[in-house]
Amino acid sequence: MSGPAILVLEDGRTFTGTSYGAEGETFGEAVFCTAMTGYQETLTDPSYHRQVVVMTAPHIGNTGVNDEDPESGRIWVSGYVVRDPARRPSNWRATRTLDEELSAQGVVGISGVDTRALTRHLRDRGAMRVGVSSIDTDPQSLLTRVLASPTMAGADLVSEVTTTQPYVVPAIGEHLFTVAAVDLGIKAMTPHRMAERGIEVHVLPATSSVDELLAVGADGVFFSNGPGDPATADHAVQLMRAALDRQIPVFGICFGNQVLGRALGFGTYKLIFGHRGVNQPVLDRATGRVEITAQNHGFAVDAPVGVVTDTPYGRVEVSHVGLNDGVVEGLRCLDVPAFSVQYHPEAAAGPHDSAYLFDRFVDLMRATRVSA
């Protein structure tokens, strides 16, 4: 039986529970995720860097931990909040328990918390800083440290998650295209989805120079998801502009969507509590079809919906909108070969409704190649 732990939000609201995973103390931005499956993918998604993730699904860890499902080399969340952790995992692929995995990776968590109450609090008051501790269970002293911890707004975190060395994910089957993928916090499934379509993916550090990017001689450039405030991603925006200037086909997702938005001159802003889950309805304004998407974003692009906007790179329209709250979920350039979405078509975890976007990227590269 593990010892007591507490969770203190920056507005002082405190929850008591039981220590889960590693003993210790951690800080970050408190966010909630409504996915009922895929905790392993969630934990290893670099976009969750510096965030303390509250799972709304009460039972976590039921299928244990396996070696196939991680989306990156490590767990990125800075803290984990659950209600009922599994005592015993059950799945034919499981090799260890989630509790063991969290401890092994030094991830501090708390269980036995009224996660619904906490979620309602974050929904109404917005994502905020939080501290979780199993070493100091005095709310007051923890609160002072919470208030001293950095905020997410203005945080430049890409440098902390991006790969240090470039690497190549070979095409599966015939090699049709080459793509340079700017790693702003990329998930393993993303290059895989491209590789499945005959794309050789060169994953590059976010710090790569324009020349290094162009040196790949890619048919297209991909901008991945990632953590932090897009307002700080100036270098990524430069890389994006370099690709746009040269009419190289561009596809961006999540953070990449915000980077494209900024490159086009749109602003970005912080959502109250963001979109985190695998049930988010998104309307493709071109087809009128609704896709159920996996999402994980706290910031969004500020672009006018339903009108064509003139930008330094020509005409641009909002291609996708979130049906729950009308948030911009995708951009399409009409005069340069570039598009992006705010959600996760690679969907791990999540539904596969949006996989077609990778085909769109392929079509875009094919079309550009023909016209060139």
């Binding site: 392993q40 699904a57 396996n66 979620t119 695998v278 539904p351």
Partner: protein
């Protein structure tokens, strides 16, 4: 796409009577559909033979036909109403099959009726097992290896390839009708034979067995833009081999990784597209190999199903309602999500709680039935519970079943581990409790997993419950944190009391003193991502409660819990009506119930819904929470049947206000002695009776009042354990078998009234005036449970004098008992004496039937009376007729016949003889100008084929019936039937000039000719008349009756039933049977009432 403008009228087909596999979930779905269509300004025409449904309330549709659901009858309705479209995907398998039949008869084409929801092609692709397998293959998914068979020979050659055990599954059936698992050739003959019989296309599927694999279901919706969403995933705790309807299931699925879940999702979306269900809901079942994750598609239902009802209640997403909107052209993103009000319906619900559904069985009523759970559904109802974790939800679900033996317990005496593990291997009612006991006895999770196939995660959770139980039991006194922990894992105060060797109330006292109370969370479809506008609550021992304060006075309505024989949809009907009318009259209505199939558990039926078990503890906590939220007028206990009625006294003792009839008054009616005095004071006769504490006493009483006697344990429901005893040996046998007679458990002995006409009466009493709502005359004589016998309203043979006498007697009882609200009395008219059999101070099973037959909203009026309105006021207001009552109807009023529907077909080898113990699961109503026609309609609605209009009648009756049988049988002969009879019966008939071919009885030596049973099985008989005689009877004729059931031949077991059948047959032969809507009947009645 907005709603189609080319649809002005739609015909909705309901699902008919409540039967095993098709219960009130289709009242819930059909009602939602009708409401939605009307909101869209569409004229709704409805056909459903089940009078107990909300959907057949005249205000739910524009034209409501309570008529048999057959292609012939529905064609007449179509001819009369000319609807633009037919919606058949919300009335279960019945509606779907009827739509197919209408198409095949060319009716849809002839009248230009468009089938909306699912096309004929889609239905065929989904329902035809062979074509479905092709589709599964075409999308690159797997199904179990199988062979389609149309004959027994096909089957025999198929097993060579598949090898035993094989699973037999007929096409176009539901609830696993006619399906089963064959372990050898004998099984195969028996099951496949029945299966070929059950399938309308005489087609069965023989399939490789994958018993023990994990079983899952997904509920999907698709719109015209081809948007598809998964509403809910359901995981069966009982693995493959136990029908999902009989499995304990949980939502959402709890033991799948995202990869496995998304694979399942991709396959189901591919399936719904390939099958081509254009709009609406659909259910797809899967099996997963626990060792490899290999996924197999079991089946799909291209319609709203029982699981869709469960999914709707489990998620808050109203599948049926949305399906109806999609059917008229909307797309998912155009439909708002009621619960959030701001987000669209095109999303996938996220749950932050766990839902558990547990089935309720009725094997105690069918001792001869095989209680093993298999691929054919056997449960008669289900309870659902919601908790913040699995253990809480599971224990709440188990106590919601209202069966002491279903709830986990921890005895002190040592248990035989190995025996328990072995027992757990055999799936039966209550298996999970055996599992819990086995683990408690020291079995490991691995051992139990190997024996049962139940996933180790679930087993570990049960282990957890056992550990908590041990903590509760340990220690000198109960530590607060242990108590809280126990509550967080769903322990009831009673369970904790048992563990601590004290009572429920002591524990509750301690708990309240410590301030340990449940909070109430909200089902909001989105795991709290958005604010919910609908107060759909469940309890949990968590931190924050979400019950909103209110200004309006609240009334709590206690529902009736899981459906069971004797307490079903009829009671939900009354609860729903109370909610409607009290809402209108300014109260905040609060529904408490745990039955996911019902209309009462729709979040928009009442102002607030608490999905909670109906136990004292759970109800008291809801009451407490609502009291904290605002003023509470009181609790209604008299509409939900015996369940809430049984809580009345203890609720009152706990300080709860009961509105309507007081607990003391209820006691006066329920307790034999007290009620005897009420009758004595009123000078009303009751059958001679006595109460025995021992066999000698019982014998003495029987001798003094004379045989036959009716015996039963005191305090019974639905006639449980009731038997007619003809002599002393039978009496001692009964005492031996059916009772643990003692001063604590006395046995009631009543004079059994032979040849008495039973009369059922529903009435309303406000303290001064009695409103006689309806007088029903039973077709079968007293001795056959009121719930099982057919009855007619108005009473066919009673005159004004008798009805006046009944009115006076009923008023005297109402006064004597002190009724405020509804009263149901059963009388037996023997000779000229009107005996009182019993009085129930509550809504009865017949309230909806009476309401529909007399066009009076009885349950609504009752709810108003309970809250203080007088009958006089309600007459002025128009809720009750201005003058007269249900006992005074116009001479030419239409006759409504109620017929019971029995589940014998589900239970091989169960005798069909009716008695004082209720066995029916549902009922139908036939209404027409004349009794004969109405009766014929009721038979057609209750049994496929209904009454024959010619052919061969086989007659074999007990001696006591020989006299009375002659006339009706002679009439049958005159009507052109060929009569076959057993020797004795034939002799009697011959003397009256009826020449009957003698057929040898089953056990009479074989002389080469086919005996009665063989002829029935050979399909040579069109109608069977077999009345059992007292003692021997339970054996004699048994084979004849069970054979009839197997062949689906009408089998009449009483002479009165025969007489009615003959009138029905005459009516059918007389020609065209018409159809007429309830609204038309109502108009006539109201007009007549205005004049008089």
């Amino acid at each position: 796409m907005p709603r189609r403008t080319d649809l002005n009228s739609v015909l909705v087909i309901g699902s008919g009577p409540i039967v095993i596999g098709q219960a009130c979930e289709f009242d819930y779905s059909g009602t939602q559909a009708c409401r939605v269509l009307r909101e869209e300004g569409i004229r709704v025409i409805l056909v459903n033979s089940n009078p107990a449904t909300i959907m057949t309330d005249p205000e739910v549709a524009d034209a409501t036909y309570v008529e048999p659901i057959t292609a012939e009858v529905v064609e007449k309705i179509i001819e009369r109403e000319r609807p633009d479209a037919l919606l058949a995907t919300l009335g279960g398998q019945t509606a779907l099959n009827t739509a197919v039949a209408l198409h095949e008869r060319g009716v849809l084409e002839k009248y230009g009726v468009e089938l909306i929801g699912a096309s004929i092609e889609a239905i065929a692709r989904g329902e035809d097992r062979e074509r479905f397998k092709e589709i599964v293959a075409s999308i690159g998914a797997e199904s179990a290896r199988s062979v389609i068979c149309h004959t027994m020979d096909d089957c025999l050659s198929a097993v060579v390839e598949l090898s035993y055990p094989v699973v037999i599954r007929p096409s176009y059936t539901m609830g696993g009708a006619g399906s089963g698992i064959a372990y050898d050739e004998a099984d195969l003959h028996q099951i496949a034979g029945a299966g070929l019989q059950a399938s309308p296309t005489t087609e069965v599927l023989l399939e490789e067995s994958i018993i023990g694999w994990k079983e899952y279901e997904l509920e999907l919706m698709r719109d015209r833009n081809d948007n598809v969403v998964i509403i809910c995933s359901i995981e069966n705790i009982d693995p493959m081999g136990v029908h999902t309807g009989d499995s304990i299931t949980v939502a959402p699925a709890l033991t799948l990784t995202d990869r496995e879940y998304q694979h399942m999702r991709d396959v189901s979306i591919a399936v719904i597209r390939a099958v081509g269900v254009d709009t609406g809901g659909c259910n797809i079942q899967f099996a997963v190999d626990p060792a490899t994750g290999r996924l197999i598609v079991i089946e799909m239902n291209p319609r709203v199903s029982r699981s869709s009802a469960l999914a709707s209640k489990a998620t808050g997403f109203p599948i049926a309602k949305i399906a109806a909107k999609l059917a008229v052209g909307y797309s998912l993103d155009e439909i708002p999500n009621d619960i959030t009000g701001v987000t669209p319906a095109s999303f996938e619900p996220a749950l932050d709680y766990v839902v558990v559904k547990a089935p309720r069985f009725a094997f105690e009523k069918f001792p001869q039935a095989d209680p093993t759970l298999t691929t054919t559904m056997k449960s008669v109802g289900e309870a659902m519970a919601i908790g913040r974790n699995f253990t809480e939800a599971l224990q709440k679900a188990l106590r919601s079943l209202e069966r002491a033996e279903a709830v986990f317990g921890w005895g002190k005496q040592p248990l035989d581990k190995d025996a328990l593990v072995a027992q757990a291997a055999l799936p039966r009612d209550g298996r999970l409790r055996v599992v819990q006991q086995a683990l408690f006895a020291g079995a490991t999770v691995e051992e139990v997993n190997v024996a049962t196939g139940i996933d180790p995660w679930f087993l570990d959770q049960i282990e957890l419950i056992n550990e908590v139980a041990a903590e509760v039991r340990a220690g000198a006194d109960l530590a607060p944190h242990v108590l809280r922990r126990a509550k967080q894992h769903g322990f009831s105060d009673r369970q904790i009391g048992a563990l601590r060797g004290t009572t429920e109330s002591v524990i509750r006292g301690v708990r309240h003193a410590l301030g340990i109370r449940p909070v109430y969370k909200t089902v909001d479809t989105c795991a709290a991502e958005f604010a919910a506008s609908t107060p759909y609550h469940y309890s949990s021992y968590d931190e924050e409660s979400e019950v909103a304060p209110r200004a309006k006075p609240a009334v709590l309505i206690l529902g009736s819990g899981p459906n069971r024989i004797g307490q079903g949809i009829e009671f939900d009907y009354s609860c729903v009506h109370a909610a409607m009318t009290l809402r209108e009259s300014g109260y905040e209505t609060v529904m408490v119930n745990c039955n996911p199939e019902t209309v009462s558990t729709d979040y928009d039926t009442s102002d607030r819904l608490y999905f909670e078990p109906l136990t004292l503890e759970d109800v008291l906590e809801v009451y407490h929470a609502e009291l904290a939220a605002g003023p509470v007028v009181g609790v209604i206990v008299q509409l939900g049947g015996q369940t809430p009625l049984g809580l009345a006294q203890s609720l009152k003792d706990a300080g709860v206000t009961i509105v309507g009839t007081t607990p003391e008054a209820i006691h006066l009616a329920e307790e034999r002695g007290a009620f005897g005095r009420v009758l004595a004071d009123a000078g009303l006769p009751a059958p001679k009776h006595g109460t025995a504490m021992s066999f000698p006493e019982a014998k003495a009483i029987a001798d003094s009042i004379g045989y036959p006697v009716l015996v039963r344990p005191s305090y019974v429901l639905g006639g449980r354990g009731m038997e007619i005893v003809y002599d002393e040996p039978m009496l001692s046998d009964y005492i031996e078998r059916a009772t643990q007679i003692s001063p604590e458990h006395p046995v009631l002995v009543d004079r059994f009234l032979d040849d008495a006409v039973e009369i059922d009466v529903d009435a309303l009493f406000d303290g001064t005036e009695l409103y006689l709502a309806g007088v029903m005359e039973h077709i079968e004589e007293a001795g056959i449970h009121s719930g099982d016998s057919a009855c007619a309203l108005p009473p066919i043979t009673l005159g004004h004098a008798e009805i006046d006498r009944i009115r006076r007697s009923t008023e005297a009882i109402a006064r004597g008992v002190g009724v405020r609200g509804l009263l149901n009395v059963q009388y037996a008219l023997a000779g000229d004496v009107l005996y009182v059999l019993e009085a129930n101070p509550r809504a009865s099973r017949t309230v909806p039937f009476v309401s529909k037959a007399t066009s009076v909203q009885l349950a609504k009026a009752a709810a108003r009376v309970m809250l203080g309105s007088t009958i006089a006021e309600l007459r002025v207001e128009g809720l009750l007729p201005r003058t007269l009552d249900g006992g005074s109807l116009p001479a030419d009023v239409a006759t409504a016949v109620k017929e019971a529907v029995l589940p014998f077909g589900r239970f091989h080898g169960v005798d069909t003889v009716l008695g004082p113990e209720m066995k029916s699961t549902g009922e139908v109503m036939g209404i027409d100008a004349l009794f004969g026609t109405a009766f014929a309609k009721s038979q057609l609605a209750a049994y496929s084929g209904g009454l024959p209009t010619g052919g061969r009648a086989f007659v074999s009756v007990a001696n006591r019936d020989k006299r009375s049988m002659v006339f009706p049988v002679k009439r049958l002969a005159d009507l052109g039937f060929e009569i076959l009879a057993t020797q004795g019966t034939a002799d009697v008939l011959r003397r009256s000039g009826v020449i009957a071919t003698v057929v040898r009885k089953h056990f009479e030596g074989d002389d080469g000719t086919l005996d009665a049973v063989q002829q029935i099985l050979a399909g040579d008989i069109d109608i069977v008349v077999n009345t059992p005689y007292g003692v021997g009877a339970r054996v004699d004729g048994y084979e004849i009756r069970t054979a009839s059931v197997r062949k689906g031949v009408p089998c009449i077991t009483t002479v009165q039933g025969l007489a009615a059948a003959v009138q029905g047959i005459e009516a059918l032969l007389a020609g065209e049977v018409g159809v007429r809507s309830l609204q038309e009947y109502g108009r006539d009645l109201r007009a007549w009432r205005e004049e008089s």
